[in-house]
Subunit: 251 residues, 2 copies
């Protein structure tokens, strides 16, 4: 059975260009490997109505939904109360998390802002944060992760074993330098037509040093079909005068 | 007057994790500087119905809409016909672009796949591509750019002077090391309450080498208010025992 996922990045800092996203690719690769491929990503601002509306819409459309960002102690960290509202449940102190943070912040100050991080939507399961302690959480099919990449990745490692995997996706890539997509397009379309259940992708590259070429990818759940389509791609490149090279082009 | 923009990244390669996005941050920064801040980003697959639905929805919600990806010569490059369909116009040969490409590909082969790149939605204005010739285009408030970062940036430079700028946004940043957000949160909320028209943002960082801290950003269209709020941020950091440092933290 085909399982799908979507990702919501919550944060003005991505939309302003202040921060370059480092989370999409990590989650895309890992979810692909789990057989729960990412089908959509949205980047939205720290605006209450927008978060609630987006979570409500996206969680109805995909099997698993991940959010990153907006779960810290400051006034602009509003993801958790918004997710609670999207699920129609209260956002309240989660006693085991409160005890954990109270103990941790004993040395400094367990103030009101930090106590906020001990609040979860009612019914949510915390996701352990081995880096900075304040947890993410899962409620229904929505998994709420930190925005800081190191913390996000650590939370995802905690979460991954609890996710139900889907069927794995196989992929084979050939690339060729000094040949343009336009020379390969017709042959590639024929291969796509022969294997309608696969995704046959064509990705041109142009390097700063003048190198150019195309990477051609065959991808799908039928391993034999992927192998056969990749062999056709290899032959197509040779027929057009190129030298097929396995895998992705060097950076 | 406040102007807004949105970005649609069209491409399976971002959703599969094959390619790390390099376009969001460039467009976010440049659109911010033009006073047309990015309010939403969507990453969607090369699926006809999804592209048409997303373009239709997003172009009604924002002043300017940018798309990247899916305008090459191969079967998976379906952005242009989908945008034509979203606007209810035919996708047809654009004679000046056809002449340009015919001349250019005379040396190799101006085949059917390459002729596809000479087709635009009726009424669209081409956006010059100084890198690999095949143009992007503007139709209504939708600007269709290449996905390859070098080509996208070159097209954007061509396009930028034609965009109507909005009011500029000013921003000042202080950062502090060895202090957590939780210590600053309450004071920061008070500053946000004092300047409700500004965006006061708090962005923790955790480096691999153990350095940690917070960057605090004041942003808005009223330059005096931004300056005053930044001064309060400076004083708050000192009051909490930190040493305020101007600008973003080093990587």
């Amino acid at each position: 059975m085909r399982r799908t996922s979507a990702l919501i990045l919550i944060g003005n800092e991505i939309l302003s260009g202040r921060t370059r996203d480092e989370n999409i690719q990590f989650l895309a690769k890992n979810l692909g490997e789990l057989g729960i491929p990412l089908r959509e990503v949205r980047v939205i601002p720290d605006v209450r109505e927008t978060i609630i509306k987006t979570v409500t819409e996206i969680r109805a459309a995909y099997d698993e939904v991940f959010t990153t960002g907006g779960i810290g102690p400051t006034h602009d960290d509003i993801t958790a109360p918004c997710v609670a509202e999207a699920f129609g449940v209260p956002w309240e102190i989660h006693p085991p998390t409160f005890a954990l943070l109270e103990d941790y912040f004993r040395k400094t100050e367990f103030n009101a802002a930090r106590q906020r991080m001990a609040k979860l939507p009612r019914g949510a399961t915390p996701i352990r944060n081995p880096v900075s302690l304040a947890p993410g959480f899962t409620i229904g099919n929505v998994h709420v992760l930190a925005g800081v990449p190191r913390i996000m990745r650590a939370m995802f490692e905690e979460l991954a074993p609890t996710l139900r995997p889907g069927e794995p996706v196989f992929s084979l890539t050939w690339h060729v330098t000094s040949l343009y997509e336009g020379a390969l397009a017709e042959g590639l379309e024929a291969i796509q037509a022969q294997y309608p259940d696969l995704d046959i992708g064509s990705y041109p590259f142009h390097r700063g040093d003048g190198r150019y070429g195309v990477a051609l990818v065959a991808k799908g759940q039928d391993r034999d079909a992927v192998t056969q389509a990749a062999a056709h791609i290899h032959d197509l490149i040779e027929k057009k005068g190129g030298t097929p090279q396995q895998g992705e082009p060097p950076p």
